[in-house]
């Protein structure tokens, strides 16, 4: 048993209890934790209490939510009332959230059982999960390699088969890249599709929560649960939520799939083997009935530079609240409040977070604001326009999710720019606010990679429909088994 819908069916038909499912997931997580380090904290008491409540309600004959009894893992960036929520940072190491994020509340209401909070790059800043203040999470396909980031913990535990569904956040690729590295489905919804309330902010205009799941159906079901307007988040949009599960398709007849000329040139130069894999994926789409059309994203090449002005600028302000005065870490100063602030922040933040706060503070400073921040916003508009023009010629875009498979731990930690380049193919969609996902696309030297499907804003149904047809026709995710899962002899 692997997917969430299979577990939900088994529970609904009483072949499995929610408590059994939770216990199995907890036991599996514990047995793999020594190798994967996927969880900052497991939450067994909360999980068991919720599972028992689900079982009791099922016994009463109540009709429960679509995820009733399904074990899930949430990135430690989401506040869960009463639980420690760290965002992977020392500065929040002791922060117990006094409220739950809207998406957590929605998962609870749908009957999902949260078994733990997963590891992440500190404040979601990173592409390898190595920037966690606590420990480095490993890739279940090769534990000498990174799981990707920043939602590395969720990707690793779903990839290992411990839970079928994880929750991540994506600011510039933080769901899609780790999903690709761990052979799972990862969805970054349209900006405004999912509430950000209770999700610790990195870059407010880019952050989106999304599902990281065993298959496309689970992604569709989870997105249907967490999507929707939230009065607590002014940037969440009041657009009806489609029935994503019903929109899943098995062929692609009549669908125009855009292939991005600039991206194909880029991947052809950087990794010919991977380029060939993606070419094969496009051919699979064609075989399913899709019509391939060339589209251009001429400003996408400025995505990285644009992103590394906007995201740090927002983060420099968002992270100002961590000062030791009200919650979290406090390092006493010498008698005055500002030295307390300085020492707390110096001790509480890691290097990458500090680097981005400094970058952002600089970009917003008087005299530089117009040259950096305002200019970056203008380019962001141009990138958005590129997508509008591309979608005038196609229904969805198919492109690489990553420029290489999972790399070795430590391979890029000394070179921030090489690390930033990991998000080359995912950042433009974040800047444009359009939905994008990564779906397993096969293996390079035994390591999984993902195909990215991109749709116009609020066209998640179309995007998931295409991904489902591709997934069911190719079944790449099921072709091989991750090494840790083989050794643990569990999960599937």
């Amino acid at each position: 048993m692997k997917t969430g819908h299979e577990i939900a069916d088994a529970i609904a038909s009483k072949r499995l209890s929610a408590l059994e499912a939770a216990e199995a997931a907890l036991a599996n997580a514990q047995s793999l934790e020594g190798e994967l380090h996927a969880y900052i904290r497991l939450t067994p008491e909360r999980a068991r209490a919720q599972a028992r409540a689900i079982d009791a309600r099922l016994k009463q004959g109540e009709r429960l939510g679509p995820l009733a009894g399904v074990p899930v893992a949430v990135k430690d960036i989401f506040c869960v009332s009463g639980e420690i929520t760290t965002a992977g940072s020392k500065i929040l190491e002791n922060f117990r959230a006094p409220y739950s994020a809207t998406v957590v509340r929605k998962l609870d209401e749908a009957g999902a059982v949260i078994i733990g909070k997963t590891n992440m790059d500190e404040f979601a800043m990173g592409s390898s999960c190595e920037n966690s203040a606590f420990f480095k999470t490993r890739n279940p396909w090769d534990t000498t390699r990174v799981p990707g980031g920043s939602s590395g913990g969720s990707a690793s535990t779903v990839g290992a088969g411990t839970v079928p569904i994880g929750l991540g956040t994506d600011t510039g690729g933080s769901i899609r890249e780790p999903a690709a590295f761990c052979n799972i489905v990862g969805v970054k919804p349209t900006y405004g599709r999912v509430s950000r309330y209770g999700m610790i902010a990195f870059a407010s205009s880019l952050d989106q929560a999304g599902p990281m799941t065993a298959d496309v159906r689970d992604a569709a079901q989870t997105l249907a649960v967490i999507a929707g307007h939230d009065p607590m988040d002014s940037t969440s949009v009041d657009v009806p939520v489609d029935d994503y599960v019903s929109a899943l398709r098995s062929d692609l007849r009549g669908t125009r799939v855009g292939i991005v000329t600039e991206f194909e040139e880029q991947i052809g130069r950087s990794d010919p083997a991977l380029a060939a894999l993606y070419k094969a994926a496009y051919a699979d789409l064609q075989r399913l009935g899709a019509q391939l059309v060339d589209v251009a994203l001429p400003h996408a090449r400025y995505g990285l530079a644009t992103y590394y002005l906007i995201a740090p600028a927002e983060c420099s302000s968002n992270l100002a609240r961590y000062d030791g005065a009200r919650y979290g870490l406090r390092v006493e100063g010498d008698g005055d409040v500002y030295s307390m602030f300085e020492r707390t922040r110096a001790a509480g933040f890691g290097d990458e977070v500090k680097r981005r706060i400094i970058l952002g503070t600089y970009a917003l400073s008087a005299g530089y604001y117009d040259a950096y921040y305002v200019r970056a916003q203008k380019i962001r508009t141009l990138i958005k326009r590129d997508f509008d023009e591309a979608f005038a010629r196609c229904d969805v875009i198919a492109c690489p999710a990553v420029s290489c498979p999972a790399f070795e731990l430590g391979a890029k930690t000394q070179d921030p720019v090489a690390m930033y380049l990991m998000d080359y193919f995912t950042i433009p969609m974040s800047l444009a606010g359009v939905p994008a996902l990564s779906v397993p696309a096969g293996y390079v030297s035994g390591l999984p990679v993902g195909l990215q499907i991109v749709a116009p804003a609020f066209e998640e149904s179309r995007m998931l429909g295409v991904a489902h047809a591709y997934e069911q026709a190719t079944r790449h995710a099921w072709a091989q088994t991750p090494r840790v899962a083989q050794r643990a002899g569990s999960a599937s």
Binding site: A97, A201, S234, A313, A320, R321, F341, L364
Partner: protein, 486 residues
């Protein structure tokens, strides 16, 4: 009036003053969360994850605060922006939970407008924008210097605050005071704020510079803060203008800086120079979407606006026959004006209503340490009292006595007249009897009147009134005596 008392020295410098007034809006809830907006509660009881800046929280705009601000703008002749936005003002300060303040930088809700001072000057407004208030630092210990720790009360954090910024159109401290007074009247009319300076719901900063009279360029300004009453605004501005003039006379240059007013010492002192000025790194708040206001909404707000003090004052003069002085006092507070109008309408005697309110009612209120709001008196009661005088039911003298119980106890004047038998006697038969008795008992006075001492008549009138315990109609008494005395 105050306009003529300009601070001018022998070298003939004039002061240029612009004011930034912060007004806490009296909405039910805070600016960006659902916490109650209330003064004086136990510290840190009116807080939630949002206004404490907890990780993951997001602001949601209080539409009512937007409405309050825009109505203020409409009342002051400002232009309401169809599109505006919120920005973050970034600086570290422990009473600010997020270490940034959500404010408005380059697209405020309103621009332009003006306040007409009764003394004649027109004070143009630059803008009015919306922001959130900060919490309050409370330095523990006997004094700031002796304090070893600081407590923070976040009840005020996130209270909606509007900042009204003038052009540098004021030239004396007295004009500044007059401007604040006018602003206060308008704000309380609109019901958008408590406007209590001592509770901090109205706070004022001043930009002050001096220049040679006739010079058109602005001098270097100092920003004066921490003035907590109208009186301290006047004192602080006087001090600051004189300080700058003395400095210039001594050949010093004025530096751009922030200066705090020290109420006890009566001086301003420098707290921050231009070089130390914050770079607030303003940028649009990505947690909030731009604010759009439909023209139809603005029109609706315009229709909902109450009649404003100056218009009301003019109408009281034009339609109700009041003097400008009377109309001015009666329109200072909306509740007073409303009370007056109710009395005037019920008594159908606006002039009498004004006389009573500015005369006996005011006297009785003062005597009993009451205000119109705290007195139990209803407009109808005062109207009944006025009507009982105009109809001749009671004498003016008796009415003044009844007024006191009406003001102090909210007594029904008609019931008081009834119970105490105070109704004026106008029945000629009853008066005739008393007159006959008085004439019979005062033969001497009758004789002296007849011998030409006209003053004796007043004595006899007094005797009749006394015998009637003040209730006899004095006109009838006088006429009857004259008739009897032939």
């Amino acid at each position: 009036m105050s306009g003529q008392t300009g601070v001018q020295t022998e070298e003939s410098y004039e002061a240029v003053i612009g004011l930034e007034v912060h007004v806490e809006l009296s909405t039910q809830s805070k600016m960006f969360c659902g916490c109650r907006n209330e003064f004086g509660a136990q510290p840190n009881t009116l807080v939630c994850p949002v206004c404490l800046g907890m990780p993951g929280t997001l602001p949601v705009v209080n539409r009512r605060a937007v409405e309050f601000l825009c109505k203020t703008g409409l009342a002051l002749g400002c232009t309401v922006a169809a599109r505006s936005k919120f920005d973050r003002k970034n600086y570290f300060y422990p009473d600010m939970p997020k270490n940034y303040q959500i404010s408005q930088y380059d697209m405020p809700l309103t621009t332009g407008g003006a306040v007409q001072l009764p003394s004649g000057r027109l004070v143009r407004l630059n803008r009015i924008h919306l922001e959130e208030d900060t919490g309050k630092n409370i330095h523990a210990g006997a004094s700031m210097a002796a304090s070893d720790h600081t407590l923070i009360d976040y009840n005020r954090a996130g209270v909606p605050l509007m900042e009204i910024v003038t052009e540098p159109d004021l030239s004396t401290p007295e004009q500044a005071e007059e401007y604040l007074g006018q602003l206060k009247i308008v704000l309380s009319y609109l019901g958008v704020s408590d406007v209590k300076m001592h509770e901090g719901s109205l706070r004022c900063d001043a930009n002050v510079s001096i220049r040679l009279t006739g010079e058109t360029r602005l001098g270097t300004k100092a920003e004066v803060k921490n003035m907590n009453s109208f009186r301290s605004v006047v004192r602080a501005l006087h001090f600051e203008i004189e300080r700058q003039q003395a400095a210039v006379r001594n050949g010093e240059r004025i530096v751009q800086e922030t200066r705090n007013w020290d109420e006890t010492r009566g001086v301003t002192y420098s707290t921050r120079s231009k070089e130390q000025a914050h770079d607030y790194r303003y940028f649009p708040d990505p947690d909030l979407v731009p604010l759009t206001i439909e023209p139809s909404t603005i029109e609706r707000w315009r229709l909902e606006m109450p009649e404003l003090p100056l218009a009301k004052r003019a109408r009281f003069v034009r339609d109700l026959g009041l003097s400008d002085y009377e109309a001015g006092i009666l329109t200072e507070e909306r509740s007073t004006a409303d009370f007056f109008e109710a009395v005037a309408a019920a008594a159908k005697e606006p002039k009498q209503a004004a006389n009573w309110m500015l005369g006996d009612v005011r006297r009785c209120l003062e005597k009993h340490s009451l205000t119109l709001a705290s007195s139990p008196m209803k407009p109808q009661q005062l109207a009944d009292l006025i009507l009982s005088v105009t109809s001749g039911k009671v004498s003016g003298k008796v009415a003044k006595e009844i007024c006191e119980v009406v003001v102090a106890e909210g007594a029904d004047p008609l019931a008081v007249i009834e119970q105490r038998g105070l109704a004026q006697v106008t029945d000629a038969g009853a008066i005739k009897q008393i007159v006959a008795d008085v004439l019979a008992r005062n033969g001497d006075s009758v004789a002296s009147y007849k011998s030409g001492k006209v003053k004796a008549l007043e004595f006899l009138v007094g005797q009749v009134m006394k015998a009637s315990r003040g209730k006899a109609n004095i006109e009838i008494v006088r006429a009857m005596l004259l008739e009897q005395l032939g």
